[in-house]
């Protein structure tokens, strides 16, 4: 066997994991459907068809309609856009904040590190979801503010993981060698520390997306997230619950879309973890 670079080896290992590859394919399909699907469908997401209220799946409405006569498929795809947008944007926020906070604390070390981590510990003691709800109360229920709020809460674990990684890299001999060689600080950070951070960051980032989407859906379900007439998977599930005895498909389809997406994201994250960061202890998130 010829020798492979670590990246190639990770890719080989990832490819060998059917769950992860399946998750990646499903996500690709789902995201492109949400992105371009609505352009090909005749119904608008707010258009009401009073001749077809609470209808089951048919040729005209592939997944049926809701209590206001709106096409469920279009609403699901639009809702998917929101869910993905919130998921990725909030993860991005948490990634950036967590990366800088954790890397700075870990690299600086000493008193600064101690106080920064004590601050993070303090935030940890706060009731998580409750904080997000508080933030939505304060900043109103606009969905852009929503992902800022979620991102602002989710960065804590990211910061911890990055800090631990930076600390362990700092202890290693190749870094001490780089310092002894008198390399400038930015070069040490850029060339020696950052490349070693990507593994855990990518893995944890992937696992944060479903957690964020879950939080968004929970808030929307409670009516504290995305506001009607805009749709989101959380709202659609909530609407489905109100009519579930009458037309169960209104609950089943959003549930299916949502859960399959979360499942694929989790599979993808776990596959990436096994491939990129095999020794890590990063676990998937507990659901709310």
């Amino acid at each position: 066997m010829s020798t492979l670079s670590p990246r190639q080896e990770a890719w080989m290992q990832f490819k060998a994991n059917p769950c992860a590859v399946g998750g990646l394919c499903f996500l690709g399909f789902m995201m492109s459907a949400c992105l371009i699907g609505p352009f090909f469908l005749v119904h608008g997401y707010a258009a009401q068809h009073f001749d077809a209220v609470n209808q089951g799946p048919s040729m005209r409405f592939w997944l049926g309609t809701d209590a206001l006569g709106r096409d469920l498929l279009v609403r699901l795809l639009y809702g998917g856009r929101i869910s993905f947008a919130v998921g990725f944007a909030a993860t991005g926020v948490s990634l950036i904040v967590g990366l800088f906070f954790g890397a700075f604390a870990g690299y600086t070390g000493g008193k600064v590190d101690t106080w920064m981590m004590r601050f993070a510990d303090f935030l940890y003691a706060l009731p998580f979801t409750i904080l997000v709800i508080l933030l939505t109360v304060v900043f109103g229920r606009h969905f852009i503010l929503l992902f800022v709020a979620i991102g602002a809460v989710e960065w804590l674990t990211m910061a911890r993981i990055v800090r631990a990684q930076v600390l362990s890299i700092k202890m290693q001999e190749f870094l001490q060698a780089a310092v002894l060689l008198g390399l400038p600080r930015y070069q040490i950070i850029w060339k020696h520390i950052l490349p070693n951070l990507w593994g855990p960051v990518i893995v944890y980032g992937t696992l944060t997306v479903p957690a964020v989407m879950l939080l968004e859906a929970t808030l929307s379900f409670l009516g504290l997230g995305v506001q009607p007439p805009m749709s989101s998977w959380g709202i659609l599930i909530h609407d489905g619950v109100t009519v579930m005895e009458l037309c169960p498909w209104a609950l089943l389809f959003p549930t299916l879309f949502f859960c399959l997406t979360l499942l694929s994201l989790n599979f993808l994250g776990e596959g990436l973890r096994d491939a990129l960061d095999p020794q890590s202890k990063i676990e998937t998130h507990a659901a709310t």
Binding site: A125, L134, V137, T218, C259, N266
Partner: protein, 307 residues
Amino acid sequence: MLQLIIRRLLQAIPVLFLIATATFFLIHLAPGGPFHQERPLSPQVLEALNAHYGLNDPWIVQYGRYLNHLLHGELGPSYGHPGHTVNELIAQSLPVSIELGLWAWVFSLIVGIPLGVWAAEKQHRWFDRVCSTVSTLGLCLPTFVLGPLLMLGLAVGLGIGNVCGWGSWEDRLLPVLTLGLVHAAYVLRLTRGGMLEVLNQDFIRTARAKGLSGWTVLFKHALRGGLLSVVAFAGPQLSALVTGSFVVETIFHIPGLGRHFVQAAFNRDYTLILGTTLLYGALIIVMNLMADLMQAWLNPRLRVSML
């Protein structure tokens, strides 16, 4: 050990103070007052209400007054529930949330731990595969999906359990299942992971070399180490269950603290939000402390470093 408990409880005081301060100012930053409703009240009524609750005073005065009340254990009157104090509301609803959370907690541990141990023992066999797949699925089934599905399947379909209220045991069945199942999946994964890690260690080989039976090896030697991560998780989990039951309480119309909290968030019921947030913070601190003590009991190496 006592020293540790006292130290941790003393540390909790500034944390709670900070939570109180932060939430107080956050909420007062928010646009719209507690009496800012869809159908506006007449200016006179609004003025009278604001004056009655002292909302016209400067923030700093309101803050001082709130802290003073807090020191006396008073959380103030509820704006959203006229005639009730926050203390009363919490006294009514907290036991309900605690009971729900405890049942769900017990359920998740009773189901999750044995299945996790057994799955680890049977690694790579079909039982393990089924458990792992189902638990991964369970992680992706949030409570607000599982609750309605259980309602649809069990209550509507089979006639088991009730879909709302909190009186008889039939009322409790579905909420507890909803809340407990997701966490049971998580406990199962943690148990399995922890057990697998321990079962691969040298001292398990030593125990087997002594000719001990499989059960003794599993329960006496492996379980303790294997459950460490579960215990580390179980404390915060209990607080997460007690404080995180607002979705389930909303779905099943249970008169618990979480439902009050969600409604308070809708109604801008400042004092109730402050009170519940503080209480949640305190609950989390106490339960994390309990989890740490439990871990120390299980792991002798930690016992030394903690004291």
